[in-house]
Amino acid sequence: MINSDVIRGHLESIILKLIIEKDMYGYEISNCITERTSNRFNIKEATLYSVIGRLQKKGLIAPYMGEKSHGGKRRYYTITPLGKAYYEQKINEWTELKSVIETLLED
């Protein structure tokens, strides 16, 4: 299990990335994360909603009520132009960070 403190700083980028791919609602995001990491990382609901709340406050994502293909209403989130720009910047930061850590930690 991954130490949640380490991944915490990147949760914003991860969630933005998923929402850029397609509009999602809360539980769909957490499910998607679990699936893609083959259960190696589970985001706690509490953490997820706090990050979503923060992103929404910063105007990076916007909520809207939508219908699920079959079933009830869901509160979907969609990316805003600002969110996309923020994500690009975060990705650059991440690439940089990754190469720095790799340089320092690997033989």
């Binding site: 403190d5 915490r8 609602y25 809360g26 539980y27 769909e28 957490s30 499910n31 589970n42 706690k44 609901e45 509490a46 953490t47 909603y49 706090s50 709340g53 079933g71 009830g72 869901r74 509160r75």
Partner: protein
């Protein structure tokens, strides 16, 4: 579904008022969506509710760890404050008691009456020491969490 709402309300009962109602509403909504999904996938309602509640985590997961550090720093500050108070009360009571001893021995050395007001004065640093130790105990408990 009252159950989920109560659970969310209870989880966030200690957070600041500003934005609280909205937060509770949106989190409740998201959890209800999750329950819906789980039920759709064939889970019983009760099992879905239990799973949702268990997986939610705590209010500490919701807020940054930095908040916790903040609280710790604040507590340390209070303790330092109490240490100053203790020093002040110690010096103060020693001064008062020595004046009492001086007056006692100078004017009426046959009766040692200074002991009685001295005991009264000693409660001052003792009370502060008690408070300081209490705060320290609290901090220790916090660290162990």
């Amino acid at each position: 579904m009252k159950k989920i709402e109560n659970f969310v309300k209870h989880t966030f009962k200690d957070i600041p008022k500003e934005g609280k109602a909205e937060l509770i509403k949106s989190v409740t909504q998201s959890l209800l969506e999750k329950i819906d999904d789980l039920v759709e996938d064939g889970m019983t309602l009760q099992a879905a509710i239990d799973k949702t509640v268990v997986e939610f985590g705590t209010v500490e997961d919701f807020f940054d760890v930095s908040k916790k550090a903040d609280r710790k720093a604040k507590r340390q500050k209070t303790i330092n404050h109490y240490k100053n108070d203790l020093l002040f009360s110690g010096v103060g009571s020693v001064t008062v008691v020595s004046i009492l001893v001086y007056i006692n021995l100078y004017f009426s050395p046959q009766i040692l009456w200074f002991v009685i007001p001295a005991v009264a004065v000693l409660w001052w640093p003792l009370a502060i020491l008690y408070n300081l130790l209490n705060k320290r105990e609290n901090r220790k408990e916090d660290d162990n969490e």
